[in-house]
Symmetry: C2
Subunit: 595 residues, 2 copies
């Protein structure tokens, strides 16, 4: 059996940094060359970063990418590199009336030349992906490539997923191996799904698959790497580690030649050398599920901070689990000495909470300051009372202290951030962001909200996990769930039930009837769904964070702010009040895995 020596460059994502990416790619090409690699596969849009969003509407950006690809082609030696980048293509119209001028492509470079280019055919336009918005689809799914004495296919990310797309056309047409640049973002259970898919594609077509992925954070999304090589029998040959930059080469056993019937381009005809010992590096073990989540949070936060120029972080330390985990994450990412936790006790803060905040800071070794809120509350109250008295009768709730205290807290953190260039971290979690509770407490103000996609129940699991929070988060913080529940507001269901409703509604599109059929109380369901819809404006203005699940708010779930479906919920709610006088609470159901 002959082998093809294939290398994977699992590079860090850096959208827009064409020159920096080109330098890194060039070094990887040199490394591959030095290891006698036949083909180097890089992630999708390795040269520009992914996703490029509307950067491709800037002609200057596209031209710069084209120039950089040319320069890399000139640098190429005997190793063939599958270099994914944007390329300018003849205008093409497809699913609407507007011509697209740019494609997501893989430029095949060898010995100083561009030897051809493949254009991605299937353009994901769902979930977090918007490729159809700006990109022209490729029109030649079956293109195959002669590389020495073997025939390869190239498919880019979504191209793999249809079950009857480019891989199938290429294998039918004579490809013996599939080379696949990818930009596959992390969410929980994603790695398993991805490996299953890769295995199916390989087995279905009887050819091995080389799957190169990015690593690192880009705004709301994180790429986990975990690049793959799968054999023609669908078995995993190699798995790269998750969440770190990595390169590796693998001698991939090839199936016998097939009759070539597809459109064949020649990259070169120098035969691939016979290698006596096939090189096969050891695979990385998959991570524990919660360790994986924690690493995603770290990498996403680290790259947001680093790439936006932040070396320090500040956050409000309340003594609760959200703030404690955010502080621990910041300590991991920035180093404890670069993190400042600020406790801002207000009129309703209990002594114990302040003590808990102090304990968190001490346990993590981060900086700690206390800014009492009382003088600020008094002076704002005076100013507002006077002003309101000028224009209208002041109602008692004019000076509702809750939101005002929250805003003052946010203002204090922002002043610290201004002064020292700290990244201001918001501590909001997904549960509270869902129902609008994060706003009231101003937990959603800041430059980055790392935990915004983590349900509250998951935060407790992270806090208790031996390899994550155990021993670092004080026990008291983990044990006061009742207090957290009380602070949420008496009319709301327990967090576990709340998380179930949020997940079923947001992620699976369940309706009131579906949820009631699961044993949940109709009044509770309607109330929660109504809150979720109502919180859209506040949520839209909240900072980005790290996506760890399907249908993350904003990135993956895009809803109208002004949503008159709410009107219907109010009517339904009134109707239910009449029909079901005293329903019981439904069961607490556990969080479900992402599909």
């Amino acid at each position: 059996m002959s082998h093809l020596r294939v290398a994977i460059g699992q590079l860090p994502v850096a959208v827009g940094d064409i020159q920096g990416n080109a330098e890194r790619i060039g070094e990887t090409m040199d490394w591959a060359e030095a290891h006698d690699v036949d083909v180097l596969v890089l992630p999708e849009l390795a040269l520009t970063g992914y996703p490029v969003a509307d950067l491709v509407l800037h002609r200057e950006f596209v031209a710069e990418a084209e120039d950089a690809a040319d320069a890399l082609a000139r640098r190429a030696g005997a190793t063939t590199t599958v270099l994914s980048t944007i390329t300018r293509v003849p205008p093409r119209r497809s699913w609407d009336s507007v011509e697209r001028h740019v494609a997501i492509s893989a430029v095949v470079i060898n010995r100083g030349e561009r030897r051809g280019v493949y254009h991605k055919v299937l353009l994901p336009t769902y979930g977090a992906f918007d490729e159809g918005r700006t990109m022209a689809p490729g029109g030649e799914p079956g293109a195959i490539w002669r590389i020495g004495d073997i025939v390869a296919g190239i498919a880019i990310c979504e191209d793999l997923w249809s079950g009857d797309g480019p891989p199938e056309a290429q294998a039918r047409g004579g490809a013996q191996i599939l080379l696949a640049p990818n930009a596959s973002s992390y969410h929980r259970s994603k790695r398993e799904g991805r490996e299953q898919l890769a295995s199916q594609v390989a087995w279905r077509n009887g050819i091995p698959l080389v799957y190169a992925n990015f690593v690192g954070g880009q705004d709301d999304i994180v790429f986990d790497g975990s690049s793959l090589v799968v054999g023609a029998d669908g078995e995993l040959l190699y798995r790269a580690p998750a969440f770190i930059e990595h390169r590796a080469f693998v001698d991939v056993p090839l199936p016998p030649h097939r009759p070539v019937t597809g459109p064949l381009r020649t990259v070169h005809t120098v035969p691939v050398p016979d290698r006596s010992h096939a090189h096969m590096p050891p695979s990385a073990e998959p991570l524990d599920e919660l360790v994986e989540v924690w690493q995603a949070l770290q990498v996403g936060t680290r790259d947001f901070a680093r790439r936006n120029g932040y070396e320090q972080a500040v956050l409000g330390l309340s003594g609760g689990i959200d703030a404690a985990l955010t502080a621990m994450l910041a300590a991991d990412v920035f180093g404890p000495g670069q993190v400042l936790g600020v406790a801002m006790p207000g009129p309703e803060t209990q002594e114990q909470e302040l003590a808990d905040a102090r304990a968190v800071a001490a346990s993590l070794g981060i900086g700690f300051a206390v800014v009492p809120l009382d003088p600020l509350m008094a002076s704002t109250e005076d100013a507002l009372s006077a002003a309101m008295g000028e224009v209208e009768r002041t109602t008692p709730d004019v000076l509702d202290s809750g939101p005002r205290a929250a805003r003052l807290r946010a203002g204090i953190l922002a002043a610290v951030s201004d002064a020292h260039g700290h990244l201001m971290l918001a501590t909001a979690n997904k549960t509270e962001l869902s129902i609008g509770a994060a706003t009231l407490r101003s937990d959603s103000v800041g430059g980055f909200a790392p935990l915004r996609d983590c349900p509250k129940t998951l935060l407790y699991r992270l806090g208790e996990h031996p390899a994550v929070g155990h021993g670092r988060i004080p026990d008291r913080v983990l044990s006061k769930r009742t207090t957290a529940q009380q602070r949420l507001g008496g009319e709301l269901p327990p967090y576990a039930m709340l998380d179930t409703i949020v997940q079923r509604y947001v992620q699976y599109g369940d309706g009131v009837e579906d949820l009631v059929a699961r044993g949940l109380d109709p009044d509770v369901v309607l109330d929660v769904l109504h809150r979720i819809d109502d919180a859209e404006l506040a949520r839209r203005q909240s900072p980005p964070g790290v996506t760890i699940g399907a249908r993350a708010f904003g990135t993956d779930r895009r809803m109208p702010i002004t949503n008159d479906w709410r009107t219907k919920r109010r009517r339904d709610s009134a109707r239910l009040d009449a029909d079901h006088p005293q329903p019981t609470l439904g069961p607490e159901t556990a969080e479900e895995p992402d599909r």
Copy 2:
């Protein structure tokens, strides 16, 4: 020549309010029936509102729309109604690997029945539009409909625009008239473009076109109505008024029968009556360009407020043009008695500014309050100094008063909003939002930012316009452009030049070289572009507003926050500093029309 009596229901948009929309549609059907109308055409997604965004991923929502369409079908009499709504369709994959289950459709209803359904073929997935994200494309562009003794085609919005799409297939197949539900959002110059397109479609195919559009605001976008009927010769037969709900019927002259070769469905076979006098209501005159902008701002703000439950507004009154125009808009939308302007003079506020703010309030007749900032500044300074002293050496800029004053101002307005349920209006304009200046002054905090898509130079034009601001905005506010320029910061170019750079970069994708070729100074250009890219995070968190131009931030222009292309700009900037020691400032160029 025979005529078809066609009615247009130019209905208000209300995304999600299926029941309310159905009631309104039912009334319009009754009205059409009473006027012996042959065919009633309603806007695109008249039943659900447009755009539905990810609401269609909720099965309950789709089912509710299907039920409501059935109920309307049962209500239908002799008038045929082209009712656009979402419908569940067999799963279809198209440009990626994910099946879509829902289409944008036009259900044709007559005499108690659904007589068939057309599915939109071209799904706009660019600019502000995301239909490809969730919708299945229709697969029968040439479908035509027998209505009595005539043959009609149906095309939905984007279907009209390709030049070789459904209208062409339908006309070729035998259609004598084209019925077109639309959701065509307003921006400047849009009406002219739309009328030109409608004329071309009609003339090219030799058949009349009936174009029904929505009216009203949905988050960032406004529909201007201006529905149309165009004759087979491309001449405008009827134009409905802009920005108001409206219904009208028109007896449209039909071209002779054509041979029917397309796929024909029969709605009914009762002949259309011969009418002795063709009914042709007078057309509305197009609005003056700036009056049109002002009406768009009014309608967009009104509908956001009304549909989200706000009856009052509060804003900060600085004495500048942005605040003055925001206040005038609020007075128009809410009534002067429902608007509160709050002046919050701080350490750097001059007496004259406070007097100007007072003059604006008096001129508009809105409520006015003064909240001096000094006591708040002093108490926050004390608190912060103490806190910062605890943890690290305090640098002089710790207590930089600018951003802190801005945040306190935002907090005061928010407290008023909390107390009385005012909608907090942010006064940011597009120019300052572009370069990040709005954040520093906290003009971008609030629930809605009506002027966020208006360049500064446009604001002056609106303020001076006889039918908009003249006589309402005090002359002093309009005359202090130099002050406004100074407040912007000395290193920035004049507003007129700034607006040119912003427009060319954001809207037309111009690069540094393009801008320099227009005579603009390279250093200035690089500095401004860098600021635009850098302000993305702040912009992402700013409130929605009214889109009046192409490529509005957020809705229509979607950029990465973490954008390493900035790195390149910094390098270019350094290079230019060396190359061009003392370049002169480029010319001030006027704002260009949208294309």
